[in-house]
């Protein structure tokens, strides 16, 4: 149905030609779901853009053959391509919010596609749009027709994008990371929906993702890409159980899943012995009946409702929940960036909830509670070099002189494995993993007692995530810190944490020892979270 041979994509940039895709070839059969898996910069999205011919003007496409059901996509006129897009081949983009027009009703946006491809007239367009919404299982489609994108949740928006993509019954659907940024349960719902629709309409699909686990659950065949080339392709089960190429092996290894432990995420050659960490009986943090009420223009929102828990010295506690469950608010309160409405926080037996967050920066306890932020790019001042970023807390919170600060910065960089020659670079000159290391080095430079980790690996590739998670484990053992690890991904949390807290709608619904929560959850919601995370096929021999 789709046949691509020796596809090359180059970009004309100021620094000369950049090869984004090199000589890739693949075929797609009717009714098949093909997964293209790769980490950022592997050229997987560019491949799909080249198929749809929606690259920038600077993108040059060269292919021996790029044929979709008899149409030569490489040489087709722009007019023909406009007919093909949407009617024959359609696409679901990464971020559902930005792929919908924010100022138009969603129903009207579906009508646009229908009428562009003459699937509907002015008179029946509305009815057909409502049918399309119903097909993607949106509740109450008659009223939702009039909604604007901002009124819908992320998952709902992605369903609307699906409805637009599928409105004209295309034969091929290209989904480019359709669930990135969605919660794990929403991810499962959206993926199940897409798979159902593809099967019931006998369509083919190309599913682009960085998550090998997710791809293995939904795809028939998988292509693994690296640096613009295909390194391995084959049937899903074979790729996952018997990966041949070292890169695929590394990816398969780095994908977190229930039966893995944290060291087994790393490639065998760099594996060293895990240092056992000690959990002491001393309670470093105790939270009692903590609540947070946000007062807004349209009434107030109770973000956190009377939660209580304890963190022991040297312990790693995982705080798990979906977006909007109050986990970020909780971590912001504990890091004393915002004030709680009610409740007490005891840090080292001292009540710190009484100290207003505004003046907390002057408090000596400031240096004992530090935080690693979600987005390593956004959490670094773009004008600060790595060294300035790491030394900033030392300058403010200690009495060290310049030489001592320099020594400390070098020590922290060594601990997090940041090469010292990168210290003079600005954030945009560093890779994602390096930026994450700078963020961690900044947090541990003060030797804090409690480190709050707010989804520290959410925006990293899996292989880098594996390295960073292991780094965190080592640091805890070496420095004896306690962690509060905030995440939505139970697969990651169970690797690192001794104790897990599950939050939903501002309430703690379950807490307990890690293995107990994972193997024997009491609450149905915890079970739902566990089931929703993608389950790649088991490895035959766990290394």
């Amino acid at each position: 149905m789709l046949s691509v041979q020796n596809l090359n994509v180059k970009f004309n940039t100021r620094k000369g030609l950049v090869e984004a895709v090199r000589d890739i070839s693949f075929n797609l059969k009717k009714g098949e779901i093909l997964g293209i898996v790769g980490e950022s910069g592997s050229g997987k999205s560019v491949t799909s853009y080249a198929l749809m011919r929606i690259l920038d003007n600077t993108g040059l496409i060269r292919a021996n053959k790029m044929i979709y059901s008899g149409i030569d996509l490489d040489n087709a006129s722009e007019k023909l391509m406009m007919d093909i897009r949407g009617r024959e081949v359609s696409m679901i983009f990464q971020n559902p919010r930005t792929s919908l027009n924010p100022i138009r009703k969603i129903g009207v946006q579906i009508e646009d596609v229908l009428r562009r491809h003459s699937r509907a007239t002015r008179y029946n367009a509305k009815q057909k749009a409502i049918e399309a919404l119903r097909a993607v299982k949106i509740k109450d489609p008659e009223n939702r027709y009039y909604s604007y994108p901002y009124q819908l949740s992320g998952g709902m928006c992605q369903r609307v994008v699906c409805a637009i993509a599928l409105a004209c019954d295309p034969k091929l659907l290209i989904a480019d990371e359709p669930t990135t940024g969605l919660d794990i349960t929403t991810q499962k719902a959206v993926m199940d929906l897409i798979k159902d629709l593809i099967l019931s309409r006998n369509m083919s699909s190309i599913f682009i993702t960085h998550d090998l686990g997710l791809a293995s659950e939904y795809c028939d065949r998988i292509i693994v890409m690296k640096d613009g080339s295909i390194v391995e392709k084959g049937v899903t089960k074979n790729i996952f159980t018997y990966p041949k190429h070292p890169y695929t092996q590394k990816l398969v290894n780095a994908t977190p899943r229930p039966e893995k432990n944290i060291r087994s995420l790393l490639p065998p050659q760099v594996k060293n012995h895990e240092v056992k960490h000690v959990i002491q009986d001393h309670t470093i943090l105790e939270v009692k009946n903590l609540s947070k009420l946000y007062k807004g223009q349209f009434g107030s929102i109770q973000a956190v409702k009377s939660i209580s828990f304890k963190i022991k010295k040297g312990e790693c506690v995982g705080l798990v929940g979906e977006s909007g469950c109050g986990k970020s608010t909780t971590s912001a309160i504990l890091s004393r960036l915002i004030d709680a409405s009610e409740g007490q926080i005891f840090f080292d037996k001292k009540d710190i909830s009484m100290l207003p967050s505004k003046n907390f920066s002057k408090n000596p306890i400031r240096s004992h509670i530090q935080m690693v932020f979600q987005d390593p790019t956004e959490s670094l001042n773009p004008r600060y070099t790595a060294k300035q970023s790491i030394s900033d807390p030392l300058k403010n919170l200690t009495n060290m002189n310049n030489d001592e600060i320099n020594t400390k910065v070098i020590e922290a960089s060594n601990l997090v494995g940041l090469p010292l020659n990168l210290l003079d670079r600005l954030p945009h000159q560093l890779s994602g993993g390096q930026k994450a290391r700078v963020g961690i080095a900044r947090a541990i430079a003060l030797s804090p007692k409690l480190l709050i980790l707010d989804e520290p690996t959410a925006s990293l590739d899996v292989s880098i995530q594996a390295v960073i998670l292991n780094l965190l484990v080592d640091l805890r053992a070496k420095l004896g810190m306690s962690y509060l690890f905030v995440s939505h991904d139970l697969n990651v949390v169970q690797l690192l944490c001794d104790y897990i807290i599950v939050m939903k709608e501002g309430v703690i619904i379950e807490q307990g020892k890690s293995n107990q929560i994972i193997s024997n959850p009491k609450e149905s919601y915890t079970r739902l979270l566990l089931e929703a995370s993608p389950k790649p096929p088991k490895l035959p021999n766990v290394p």
Partner: protein, 292 residues
């Protein structure tokens, strides 16, 4: 000491490399900086370079067209137009640079406060600035100069006041975006005081877009000062200034003496053009992400 001075040298050479790479990348920026250099030289050394005293009158050679002796001709009092145009550069550039500097400082300060703390302070400041913007700005400047008195300082103040809202609004928006950025939270975790966060972490990040505004404004301030002089406010004859020269020369265009108004007008235009072209280059210089 030796180590720190060598670090400073590295920093300086880094900045120079960055500057050169930006000039190489964009020929228009290169041209703009070249023209800026020319205007700076004439502003600083102008009085020593010109062949005649700009104030010296000589009735015998009044209203002569451009020649080798008088490149831009002479005016109705026999003064050399070329000398007057060149000498006027210093005054016009001083007015615009000072005016922009004042409005940049005050505007940034107000905008940062409004953008960071928000609430009633934001509402209060924003409405005042809106009120200033609601006036026809040139008329407002005329009013200010007329009320304060006809001096060069007052032209500077008037030009500064009418430009403050543009800086304040721009900074307010830029600060507002970054107020909740996680690098600001990180700065709080690092023990920075609110003032330090504002001054060191947030404000410098607003500089790249501000630089575009600054360069456009410099050109605009020159026009504004010249405009005020043109209608007889501010600079008074016989001081050489482009606006007055155009105003005086305009009377002679009908009788065919075009050079009196053309050359000061041309210099005015070139100066404004220089500053307008400078915008992108200045922004790139202040944008750390452009550094290779």
């Amino acid at each position: 000491m030796i180590i720190s001075s060598s670090i400073n040298n590295i920093k300086e050479s880094k900045f120079i490399n960055h500057f050169i790479s930006i000039l190489k990348e964009n020929p228009i920026t290169f041209l703009a900086f070249l023209m800026l250099f020319f205007f700076m030289i004439t502003a600083i050394l102008g009085p020593y370079l010109v062949p005649y005293d700009p104030l010296e009158t000589n009735a015998k050679i009044a209203l002569q067209p451009p020649s080798i002796e008088h490149l831009f001709g002479t005016d109705n009092l026999g003064r050399d137009v070329f000398s007057r145009v060149i000498v006027a550069t210093r005054l016009d550039l001083t007015i615009s640079v000072l005016a922009v500097l004042i409005s940049f400082i005050i505007g940034s300060f107000l905008g940062t406060l409004a953008g960071y703390w928000g609430g009633w302070l934001d509402i209060f400041l924003s409405r005042i600035l809106d009120t200033i913007m609601a006036f026809p700005l040139f008329v407002l400047a005329m009013g200010i100069v007329a009320a304060l008195g006809n001096t060069i300082e007052n032209i500077i103040y008037a030009t500064a006041i009418i430009n403050i809202p543009f800086y304040a609004r721009l900074v307010r928006a830029e600060v507002n975006i970054r107020r909740e950025a996680s690098f600001v939270h990180a700065a709080k975790m690092a023990g920075n005081s609110e003032f330090k966060i504002l001054a060191i972490h947030i404000f410098p990040n607003t500089l790249p877009p501000m630089m575009v505004q600054v360069s456009l404004n410099l050109g605009w301030a020159i026009l504004n000062a010249a405009g005020l002089s043109f209608i007889g406010l501010g600079v008074r004859p016989p001081t050489p200034e482009w606006g007055i020269m155009v105003a005086e020369g305009a009377n002679f265009i009908i009788s065919g003496e075009w050079w009196l108004a053309l050359f000061p007008g041309l210099w005015l235009m070139l100066a404004v053009l220089t500053f307008n072209l400078l915008g992108d280059g200045l922004r790139d210089i202040f944008d750390p992400r452009k550094r290779a």
